[in-house]
Symmetry: D2
């Protein structure tokens, strides 16, 4: 297969108010015949340059009402225009520009980049198959400074980790979910709702939080809340890359460190991941 | 000289409410004698490991009320404790953890990382010299989608750039300023005020903006506004790493692109910088 | 599943001569029950910290005669020690330390890091399934300054790319292959042989090279040569991330640029990939 | 001032044999008047785009016989062409393409990227001042697995580091030196000679090495050897970013680890730097 990445800006105006979307689009294509690999026959090959032109023309003509709709437009274009395309996947990722505010007043044409979790989506289709749409958030860094522990794990002669009932829970989340039949979805609204679910399930109630017995359970709580609140989600995958923090031992320095000063442990670096769907569950 | 970098977390509680600061500290030391370089005599050398311990002990004992105060504490400690230290500089940078909110309610112990500009500061001192404090913001990405141009520049036989009166102004800012005699400054409050000045001078009034004739003039506007609004600032340096965007030419594709689709130009990559002080001005 | 990454150094001596391997090991485990996700029951969970200890103990006891043997050792240990492990994968990657030479004389204990392609391997096993071993090279950057073109591709109204018969072929290769039943393989020797095949197939004969009609065909040539020369390889995957270079148009500057000065095109960024096995072929 | 970065490829042929240089050039300019900052008057500003054109035209016309000569050409061009330029600095850095060899035979047009230390140079000039040329190597990673220690350092109540007489010495070097009056220097030849000096001073004799009592002393040894062997060098600056490795304590795991397994310590991260010139010495 071949893929390629294009980054561009799409502007539009409503009156004098300006709107901006900066996206990175990656299109994957697989052709019905591998003759360009085996025989060096390029007659069916759609050059990277042409793919770039098509993506830019679609952005110009249709705009980017949502990342998902734009990914769907790309899939549709390749499937209907090129009979040599056997499979197409369009990945779209957003640069998180947010409108600037001055004393609460939104600015008509100025923006600031706020990367507190990156929105992305994916649409894919095999010829004669259904169009499947995924959406997600990545690079979302969250931390709980209490209400987290890890106890009762398996132990043998290689175990040196002590049990802990009040540690830091910190990590970078990657969440990706699939939609079912996506007729007239308000993708922007659903995405915001899911992001809120993720934060709520991670943190628990604002006044007291909720105890997490492991990274794995927190991953599961996020999945359960999203599936229960957002009926459009069919399956949700969550990957959590942990950052561990150790309380610094200050006994040699004559001090008692009551979980006040901690250092990140860069090695080993752990991650846990789970995929959860409706009805039936499967762990990857 | 020697320097080293330490990253750690400082937690504290007020009742049940938790507060967190994650900082990266880099301490530079220069000794009165270079004998460890010339003779391999280590008797005056303060090991990296000891420096780390001192920074952690200071964080434990004093907390981090502001980055600036913590940097000052570090300088003071080294100057008063080690007579072999001729010069000390402490650089402190913050990981931008922000308290999570659920429906507007702040969470007592959960945080999200929001890197929309990184706060840092620097304190430095030579033995028998004054303690100088700098503060700043870096990795601040801003964009104006209109009200920016570049015309009337110098032209010769190597000029191919057309004049433009409606281009995108986009870039990453690095701003660093020095404080004068810093007695009882509220460093946190001043820093927020300066950040607002930078955004306001970049963007102009929210309803109409302000035309920028060049990156250089925008840099100068920021400096002028900060100096006029914040009397504690003595000198301010601004570096702007530009991202250029070109309107895609779609004539060959049969379309008129009215500044709707633009692509970033990754080469050449430009930057402009200026340092502005009170009374006298100097360009670096 | 869970995974984690550990980086460490393994030294050994033969007489006074020192040998070093610095590796990054990533172990993935999937357990027979997902109870830690669903119920917060940690009783089967093997902590990251324990996995780290096991990897270090294996390195201490067995050494790292080859990356592949070490990955096999890790798989074997987890499968035979923990009955709750349903699946294990060990990824091992090398930091490319090479012995220093002074006037051709090898140094007994000094090394330089030479990252001209990174060696890695992977061993994986499901309970009751075979142990499968992969090896590979990544981050291998190669360039041909001539003997490369791209012509006869598919054209339509979105095509703007001109045909070229003398372009630069440049890119970063990722190659990964699987071994069949790996009894008593000399993994180090085979890996070196495959690396030579990749370079030879890319470059062609040293005195004249060989014309490449496309990135895809070059990928295929590499695969064909490896499969024909190295009987231990069962399947080989090659991914090529292209860097395009454009000849700078200097007409406006009054000069004729005869493919002397070229600039990299950073967007769009393309890649092509193919997986080729024995007997039957399949394109991913 | 303003600066900008351009990356490009310069090819040339001798008969059928092809040669390639890929460089990144960064030109800094300071103008005689800051009117573009203060008044928004662009009439003296040389746009980034024009600077790019000039660099490419110089590469086309003169080629790149050495990085240093190319940097000198750039300085000369700006000083002689633009009377509004008060200061110019040209930084040139090389992508380390090396000719491929097959069984010892050099290939006529194929190259591999081997980043074992990156060559760079800098030329700078103030109007009416001398042209000063610097050269250097960066990202050079070296390791000694024995013959290194750190003892006899300053101790107080914050000291926890034990003395060690057989540790790993590992780090990334940045070395930069200035040439005096550079008439007819063979910059390529001198650079290779200095690189060899750095490796030799770091490693010591190949059969036994030389004991290093500290990072600082190793830095000094490199500087002394370069100054003694290469008369064209006036001043040399060396920065060493250390990577520390700790011997893993395996007592709890029932094993004796005789400096066989070590892990990198990522925090604190130290660096030491020194600048050494002829006759008089000064430490920065």
């Amino acid at each position: 297969y071949g893929k390629n990445t294009i980054k561009f800006l799409r502007l539009h105006k409503e009156g004098k108010k300006q709107f901006v979307k900066e996206v990175e689009v990656c299109a994957h294509l697989r052709l019905t015949s591998p003759q360009e690999y085996l025989e060096g026959n390029n007659s069916l090959v759609i050059p990277t340059d042409t793919i770039k032109n098509i993506v830019l023309v679609l952005a110009k003509k249709n705009g980017i009402p949502s990342l998902e709709q734009f990914a769907i437009d790309i899939c549709n274009h390749f499937m209907t225009t090129f009979c040599q395309v056997a499979y197409v996947k369009a990945y779209v990722q957003e640069v998180p520009w947010q409108r600037l505010h001055e004393d609460g007043v939104p600015h008509i044409h100025s923006f600031i980049c706020v990367p507190d979790g990156i929105r992305f989506c994916e649409a894919e289709q095999c010829r004669n198959g259904p169009l499947i749409v995924f959406a997600g958030i990545k690079d979302l860094k969250l931390m709980k400074t209490t209400q987290s522990g890890f106890e009762g794990f398996y132990k043998n002669e290689h175990t040196t980790l002590p049990e802990r009932h009040d540690r830091i829970l910190c990590g970078e989340f990657f969440c990706k979910w699939s939609y079912g039949e996506c007729k007239d979805f308000d993708f922007n609204c659903i995405w915001k709702k899911i992001r809120e679910c993720i934060l709520e399930a991670f943190a628990g109630p604002p006044d007291c939080g909720e105890y997490s017995p492991s990274y794995q359970k927190t991953v599961n709580c996020i999945q359960m809340l999203v599936l229960s609140r957002v009926p459009q989600v069919q399956v949700i995958e969550v990957v959590l890359n942990n950052t561990f923090y150790n309380v610094v031992d200050m006994k040699n320095l004559g001090l008692t460190n009551d979980k006040e000063v901690l250092v990140p442990v860069e090695t080993p670096y752990g991650s846990c991941a789970c995929t959860l769907g409706r009805k039936t569950f499967f762990e990857a």
